[in-house]
Structure formats: structure tokens, C-alpha cells
């Protein structure tokens, strides 16, 4: 399952259920449609409700990373459970995308003015 929301240049994706080869295809289609329509500067993928992930999840993140790079944006991998972190670290995803356990401040509030908020919260790239 994929829930998407784009506010103020940030697309927040909430994934839920198992992330395997079977479900990755549908998730990819949903996310890419949103990205190509809305051109966000930041893509936050929330893994807190993902119950299982294999290397298909790595493919999903890498693919979105490439897409966001082409658009000059960034990808943030948010709130991955321990068993997912293990796969992420093995694949070296932490060297490409920012991993965070705390999403506060990353996704602008819907009620706040767009564009202003995002500048303040843009993380420093290292």
C-alpha cells in the first residue's frame, strides 16, 4: 500500500505491508506518477509501517534516488524498523540517501505557507 501527499515541495510517501518484488512494482508506479507530476524537491519515504523488505526495496529506493537526482532533489528514508535497517546498511543505502528516525520538520504542515517553510528545513548536504 502506498499513501502519497505533496505539500510545499515535499512529497511524503507512507508505505505499508510487505515490500517485495510483487508489491514494489505498484509502489514504484504510484510514487513516480506523483514525482513526475509535482516535481518535489524532497521525497520522504516512511518505512515505519513496512512489515517486510527484501532487496526489491533497495531497488525501489535506488530508482527513486536516481529520479530525484535528475530533478535536483533529495530522498530521505524515514523511520525504518531494525530488520529493514539491516538490509539498508548491507546495500550501503545510508551512503546515498539520508536515514532518519525522526520526521518532525521534514514534512511541511499543510496549513503553513508553501515554499517558506521548506527553505528553513532543508538539511545540509554533506
Amino acid at each position: 500500500m502506498t499513501e502519497l501527499k505533496t505539500v510545499g515541495g515535499v512529497t511524503a510517501v507512507m508505505l505499508s505491508g510487505d515490500l517485495d518484488h510483487h508489491s514494489a512494482g505498484m509502489m514504484r508506479t504510484d510514487i513516480d506518477r506523483e514525482i513526475t507530476e509535482k516535481h518535489p524537491r524532497r521525497l520522504v519515504i516512511d518505512f515505519s509501517r513496512v512489515t517486510f523488505m527484501d532487496s526489491s526495496g533497495i531497488g525501489l529506493i535506488m530508482g527513486r534516488y536516481k529520479l530525484m537526482c535528475e530533478q535536483g532533489g533529495e530522498v530521505i528514508v524515514a523511520r525504518p524498523p531494525a530488520y529493514i535497517k539491516k538490509v539498508l546498511r548491507l546495500a550501503g543505502v545510508d551512503r546515498l540517501a539520508r536515514l532518519t528516525d525522526d520526521i518532525s520538520g521534514l514534512i511541511p504542515d499543510e496549513n503553513e505557507k508553501e515554499d517558506e517553510k521548506i527553505e528553513q528545513t532543508t538539511p545540509q548536504t554533506t
Binding site: 514504484r28 517486510f52 527484501d54 533497495i58
Partner: protein
């Protein structure tokens, strides 16, 4: 291969069509069968991930998403040693070593990360691969289950 022929204490065999819907079923079947060993959460998720990679390989690469059957056998030996065999009768591989190289993938357009065997080798103690072009591929995954009690 092994010096003394070991009889499994328990075993199960499943065959299912090479449909991506069955990737999840294969994981659940393995974790259901292994529940008798009372595995801890971490080792169960390791085993499920390794099985998922092997079954996905059979479906995506073995049969190239065409129809076929995947066979999965899980055996439990003494001292909570488990052996999981995943077999397809698909296209097979000429170069197993290349396929097992981290980040190598024969289908980058599918967004396969090329990490399937790396994950299997990291999450299981032993991985054996037998493959023959046009005959199919057999992957054997082995490890010991520590369980909750011994932690």
C-alpha cells in the same frame, strides 16, 4: 555431500506456480513451518528475507516471469539446523559466480539491485547454488536457529 547421511526430524515440500503473488506465501509458509523451533524475531526475519530473494530469483530470472513451477523444501535437523532448498526448472545460469557477485544484475531495467545472493549469504550460514543453462537452478540455504530460549 555430507559425510554422514542425516535424517531430518521434520520436513515439508511445497510447489507453487512462479507467480509474484507467491513470494509472500513462500515466506509465510517457511516462517509457519519453522515456528516449531521457536525462532527469535531477528533470525526469522533473516530467514524470510533470504527465502524471498531465492524465490524471487526463481520467478524473475529462472522463469523470466513466464509460467513454471517453483519447488521449496524445508528440512529441520538435529540441533535446530535448517536446510531450505528452492528449485526452479527455468533458464538456469551459465556463470553462477558472476550471478553471485554483489551488485551484478541481469535485469537493471527491472530495478533489481543485484543484492539477492549477497543477502542470502549474509543472512544464512551457508549458501549453495547449482545451475545449468536450460535446466534450472537449485539454491540451498542452511543455518542454525538459536531460538528465544538460548538467547
Amino acid at each position: 555431500m555430507s559425510r554422514r547421511p542425516l535424517r531430518p526430524l521434520n520436513e515439508m515440500t511445497l510447489t507453487f506456480p512462479a507467480l509474484s503473488e507467491n513470494e509472500r506465501f513462500a515466506r509465510l509458509a517457511v516462517s509457519g513451518f519453522l515456528s516449531q523451533l521457536d525462532p527469535n524475531i531477528s533470525e526469522l526475519s533473516d530467514i524470510k528475507t533470504a527465502v524471498s530473494e531465492a524465490v524471487t530469483n526463481a520467478i524473475v530470472h529462472g522463469y523470466r516471469e513466464r509460467s513454471g513451477e517453483v519447488m521449496m523444501q524445508v528440512r529441520i535437523f538435529e540441533d535446530s539446523r535448517i536446510c531450505i532448498k528452492i528449485q526452479d526448472k527455468g533458464c538456469g545460469m551459465a556463470d553462477v559466480e558472476q550471478a553471485m557477485t554483489p551488485l551484478y544484475t541481469s535485469s537493471p531495467e527491472e530495478e533489481r539491485a543485484g543484492l539477492g545472493f549477497t543477502i542470502m549469504e549474509t543472512f544464512m550460514e551457508k549458501v549453495r547454488v547449482k545451475s545449468k543453462p536450460d535446466k534450472g537452478t537449485t539454491v540451498i540455504l542452511e543455518r542454525t536457529v538459536q531460538g528465544k530460549r538460548r538467547l
